[in-house]
């Protein structure tokens, strides 16, 4: 029997005398919670104070000046609006394509008795375990040799240094996880629905597009938010596969706030918070989808 349930169940009852063990646990929980929060709150605090002040007093001192100057500076100096737009140009198509392809594969594996379907599923799931860094150099070399027409990729005329390349690599890496989750989710949809649709004369496309996909909407929503956050947070690929500074997404462009001989960490903190903000907003607004997305397909209904 645990305390909270009892207290919640009966507010008028006197609380149990506090045992020393509970005090220890409480203190422990607070310390751990603070330990998690400090790395988040400290940059927030630092970003509001001028560098000269933190350099003189240290980061854990009481503030003399608090203002949003660094945010303005980061927004303008780092040219963040352009880079935010770049991120959207990468993340939105990448998420949509990933979900589209993954739902295709999941549908085939889960709802059609595809020969070798289980092997395919294992293959896609195993792909998740491959560290992206392993294929860095091959992908780079491949991209520098694949031509694109000039109106798709300028000035390189290659897949390298184009958004197409970045989107393709994200789709390639994220599809595996989405297939895994979606096929597990589709397994929970009663088979009778498809059978009924087949009897009514629905073709494969119709079964996928009008029967299964609408039912998989919660899973698609949850995955969409998760995938958006992941692709948004990517730093590596854009740095490796882009050479035009103005085309970089916002995470990679944060480096613009570092000067040559001097890094103003307070400015960098302000920039980081601006960059982290969209993910935080997405998380708080769509918290339920996030949590359900992480546990989706964990149990078969």
């Amino acid at each position: 029997m645990n305390g909270p349930a009892r207290v919640a169940g009966d507010g008028t009852r006197r609380r149990r005398p506090v045992s020393p063990m509970r005090v220890v646990i409480r203190i422990f929980l607070w310390v751990v919670a603070l330990g998690w929060l400090v790395p988040l709150l400290l940059p927030l605090y630092a970003s509001l104070r001028p560098y000269a002040e933190t350099a003189a007093d240290g980061y854990f001192s009481l503030p003399r000046t608090l203002n949003f100057d660094y945010y303005v500076q980061a927004w303008r100096g780092g040219n963040l609006p352009t880079h935010f737009l770049n991120t959207l140009l990468i993340a939105v198509p990448a998420v949509l394509l990933t979900l589209f392809f993954a739902s295709f594969v999941a549908f085939l594996i889960s709802r059609r008795r595809l020969p070798g379907g289980k092997v395919l599923l294992i293959l896609f799931t195993a792909g998740n375990l491959l560290p992206q860094q392993v294929v860095l150099t091959p992908v780079y070399l491949m991209y520098t040799k694949l031509p694109l027409p000039w109106w798709m990729s300028w000035p390189s005329e290659l897949v390298y240094d184009s958004y197409w390349g970045i989107i393709a690599i994200h789709v390639a890496f994220q599809t595996g996880f989405c297939v895994f989750v979606l096929s597990n989710y589709m397994d929970t949809i009663p088979r009778e629905l498809i059978e009924a649709a087949t009897v009514d004369g629905a073709g494969v496309w119709r079964q996928y597009w009008q029967v299964i996909l609408p039912l998989a909407r919660p899973a698609l929503g949850a995955l969409g938010t998760l995938e958006f956050a992941w692709i948004y947070n990517d730093f590596l690929w854009a740095v490796v596969l882009m050479s035009t500074g103005d085309k970089l997404p916002v995470t990679s462009a944060l480096n613009n706030l570092r000067a040559v001989y001097f890094t103003d960490y307070n400015l960098l903190a302000a920039g980081s918070i601006l960059v982290a903000l969209p993910t935080l907003i997405v998380f708080f607004v769509l918290q339920r989808q996030f949590v359900s997305g992480l546990t989706l397909g964990a149990n078969k209904g």
Binding site: A55, G77, L89, V92, P93, L96, F100, Y140, Y143, T144, W150, W151, M152, S153, W154, P155, S156, L158, Y160, D161, Y163, W164, W209, L213, P214, R217, V239, V240, S243, T244, G245, D246, S252, A253, N255, N256, R258, A259, V260, Y261, F262, T263
Partner: protein, 446 residues
């Protein structure tokens, strides 16, 4: 599934279910999803579609666009370089990538789709890429601009095959900085020799100053001290061949450098590995420390009166044979990539960048550097810049700083941690040299 079924025939229930279906459709219909996809696909093509309705000219003949890969990412230099490029009379498209990323990505950048010209450093780092065939030989450009540059500058622009690959733009010397007012007040003399230097440091300590400011949090500032002690004790030639991986780090001469350095450590600001150079420079500004060996960019941390009070002296002599011959003065400049699209335009742009006009225009915005061209106008220089010109033009050899004189991977993965560990525990010189040597062998073998 367990919901009790409402009366399906009641009109209210029908209306309700219809409404529900409608609102769901409004929230996210498949058609809408498709529309969204089409829209973003359109947006993807948009950036190029808007700017270019027909294929932009790549040049090929002089007069076309010249692309310039720039690492001038700080706000002031970025603006200054844009103005310099605008005044060139050529159509220059600047692609700015932040300084650190540019440096880390340089190999990938040069192999893939480099711009016509790119900003880079002289010395081993330039020679390394020239030797790999990633840069274009510009000896013909040097025939027309050579008259404006000192032989040392030309040497710093020459690859290991004897051809020129680099046009120097500006440089900044490394020296020991101090505040004139402190030296005047306490009656200190500029030290000429190693013994004078140590004696001065000892005197400062009795006067309550921390004699030598020191910071190595970022790993590279301490390299300057190593370079200078090595060049003063063993000479420039040994330093260069040590950097090129041709000498053993277990050589007694290298060990001597560390033991000489150890003599200075008691006078150093303690806890160097946790301090940035800015903090060390500020301690010099606040007169807590007496001297600081750093590049001229130290001036960025000094404003107004303190800036006028800042002065420097060359690193003192250690071995008489080498005197104060060598000066550490990293040179920044430009190169042409091997995949250049508009070669004539690129060469024309380099000729312009080598001119006194372009260099004067740039340095007006950045007073912590000195122009490389001899005919650049020195009348606008402050006292420190004038002294720097004097120091470098009197130098018999110019070194480029450890991380530019050796392989970048050796400098960052071996030398940074090695020097930091030396600063925190200077006792085990033999072990340190042994570790550096074994890692050096692996890196230079690759």
């Amino acid at each position: 599934m367990a919901d009790p079924q409402p009366d399906q025939n009641s009109p209210a229930a029908i209306a309700q279910s219809r409404q529900r279906a409608q609102s769901r459709q409004r929230a996210l219909s498949r058609r809408r999803l498709l529309g969204g996809t089409a829209y973003t696909a359109g947006a993807l093509a948009l950036p190029v579609g808007l700017t270019a309705c027909e294929k932009p000219s790549t040049g090929g003949e002089s007069g076309g666009t010249v692309t310039f890969g720039s690492n001038y990412s700080d706000e002031v230099p970025k603006k200054a370089i844009a103005e310099v490029m605008a005044a060139s009379g050529l159509d220059v498209r600047v692609n700015t990538v932040d300084h650190n990323t540019f440096q880390e990505n340089i190999t990938r950048y040069l192999q893939a789709t480099p711009d016509d010209i790119f900003s880079w450093f002289s010395g081993f780092r330039m020679q390394y890429f020239a030797a790999q065939g990633l840069a274009t030989d510009i000896s013909d450009v040097w025939q027309s601009i050579g008259g404006d540059f000192s032989p040392a500058m030309k040497k710093a622009s020459t690859g290991s095959d004897g051809k020129q690959y680099f046009v120097p733009f500006y440089y900044y010397p490394w020296a020991v900085f101090y505040r004139k007012s402190v030296f005047q007040e306490k009656g200190y003399q500029i030290p000429k020799t190693w013994d004078d230097f140590k004696a001065l440091a000892a005197k400062m300590r009795t006067d309550g100053l921390i004699p030598i400011a020191m910071a190595d949090k970022d790993g590279w500032p301490a390299m300057g001290t190593f370079d200078y002690i090595n060049m003063r004790a063993n000479g420039y030639d040994f330093h260069v061949s040590l950097m090129a991986g041709k000498e053993s780090w277990e050589d007694s001469r290298v060990k001597q450098v560390f033991s000489l350095w150890r003599e200075l450590l008691p006078y150093n600001q303690p806890g160097a590995n946790g301090r940035t150079w800015q903090e060390a420079a500020q301690s010099l500004g606040q007169k807590q420390t007496g001297m600081y060996l750093l590049g001229m960019f130290v001036g960025q941390q000094f404003q107004g009166e303190a800036a006028a009070d800042l002065d420097f002296f060359p690193f003192p002599q250690i071995a008489e044979a080498h005197g104060q011959d060598a000066v550490e003065a990293p040179i920044d400049g430009f190169m042409i990539s091997s995949k250049v699209k508009n070669l004539d335009g690129a060469k024309e742009l380099l000729r312009y960048l080598a001119s006194a006009k372009a260099q004067n225009a740039y340095l007006g915005s950045d007073p912590n550097n000195v122009a490389t061209s001899n005919s650049a106008d020195a009348s606008g220089y402050n006292a420190l810049q004038k002294k720097a010109v004097e120091l470098v033009s009197g130098a018999k050899q110019i070194s480029q700083f450890l991380d530019r004189d050796t392989r970048p991977d050796f400098a960052s993965t071996v030398m940074i941690p090695s020097l930091q560990s030396f600063l925190s525990s200077p006792k085990d010189v033999n072990g340190l040299c042994k570790r550096i040597e074994s890692q050096k062998k692996t890196i230079f073998a690759s």
